[in-house]
Symmetry: C2
Subunit: 230 residues, 2 copies
């Protein structure tokens, strides 16, 4: 479902100072695969995820999602694919500050359209319940704990029934019980519904829920292996 060839991303801070965030990445991800991404802080994981999620463009190389070449798309076409096919859990959550948890979760459905207010609210409420946030639906993000904000971000990523979940450190602020619940949820989405999951994590226990693990170092993939789950 994902084909990446020679992907590079370089940031230029000045004429002479540049940072190679991604260095010639090539990788294939099959439909229905559950892959973990690990690697040191600053090794390029989020940069890679942002390009996969059409939130950023590479400096060079190609990225094909579901047969569609990323480079050939307009900004609007990318936004439409993001909304229809991808659920993105951001490392920094990126919740809208002036709306409640449940409004944050519903929002992707209103972009998509074709759903009544009542249906959207019901779906959002069920997802919040699935991540243990019943009772926090009307809180704005600044009235939620760090782990609660993270779970709102997870619920929001799932509401459009995406074909692909891109989760950047989805359990970084969660205790072991909540982490386990989220991992069971992801395992079910992948196992029963065939959703492709790419998950950045720095916790080896969390990576073990995936079937495949890749490791980034200085913008390159240095390890690509099956996990113990196989």
């Amino acid at each position: 479902i994902i084909q990446v060839r020679g992907l590079s991303k370089t940031y230029y801070l000045s004429d002479e100072v540049k940072i190679r965030a991604l260095d010639n990445i090539s990788i294939d991800v099959k439909r229905g695969e559950y892959m973990a991404i690990m690697g040191a802080s600053g090794s390029g994981k989020s940069t890679f995820m942002n390009i996969l999620g059409f939130l950023d463009t590479p400096s060079s190389g190609s990225y094909i999602l579901d047969g569609i070449e990323g480079g050939s798309l307009t900004k609007d076409q990318k936004a439409e694919i993001r909304n229809r096919k991808i659920g993105f859990v951001f490392q920094g959550f990126n919740l809208l500050a002036r709306t409640s948890a449940i409004e944050n979760v519903e929002m992707p459905l209103f972009y998509k359209g074709g759903i009544t207010d009542a249906e959207a609210r019901k779906k959002a409420s069920e997802l919040l319940d699935m991540v243990g946030l019943t009772g926090r639906e009307d809180h704005h993000p600044n009235r939620l704990s760090g782990g609660e904000q993270q779970r709102v971000a997870i619920a929001r990523a799932l509401i459009t029934n995406p074909a692909i979940i891109l989760a950047d450190e989805p359990t970084g602020n969660l205790d072991s019980k909540n982490t386990e619940d989220i991992m069971k949820l992801f395992t079910r989405l992948n196992g029963e519904m065939g959703i492709t999951i790419i998950m950045v994590t720095h916790e080896p226990d969390v990576a073990e829920f995936a079937a495949r693990k890749i490791v980034f170092k200085d913008g390159s993939i240095i390890i690509d292996a099956k996990t113990g789950k196989n």
Copy 2:
């Protein structure tokens, strides 16, 4: 160094709906102690840390820091104690968006005063080097990875040589190598300089670097024990 008696914090969302974020907490922390705080997401850890750091006030109960009763202080007096005695690592980093990493780290020194620009810059540069961020000094937060932002927040908390470090999930976005480096740094600050450290974490391996561990549940402390380090 810290005495807490009957501390409670209740949020009122409306006349009938209230959330007991902290429920009658009493605890003493000795000078030079290294204590870890664990507990489920939403159990009150950050609320407790914010009160200890004079960033929030309790609904009831008392908090004495270094012999000074928190309730008797003015807003300005609290800001002054925060600046002089406490180094706070926020769960959400709370970096200033429009200033560089090194300017973020220096800032507490300029509040404190009595230091030249050159000395402040030198000290900030050394701290950024200590957390592995040489080469990222001039980046603004939106040009830093999640783990890099977290390390800037850690460096900033240390720059005034505080008597107490309050660290809320300081390694939540860090890989194992960086986590280990930060834990070695904290162990040195505690062991060699006698700095009191209170650290929220959801990772048991990280908690083991502390000598004492408390566990929060629904706003109360349900466990208070020595760690394996003893």
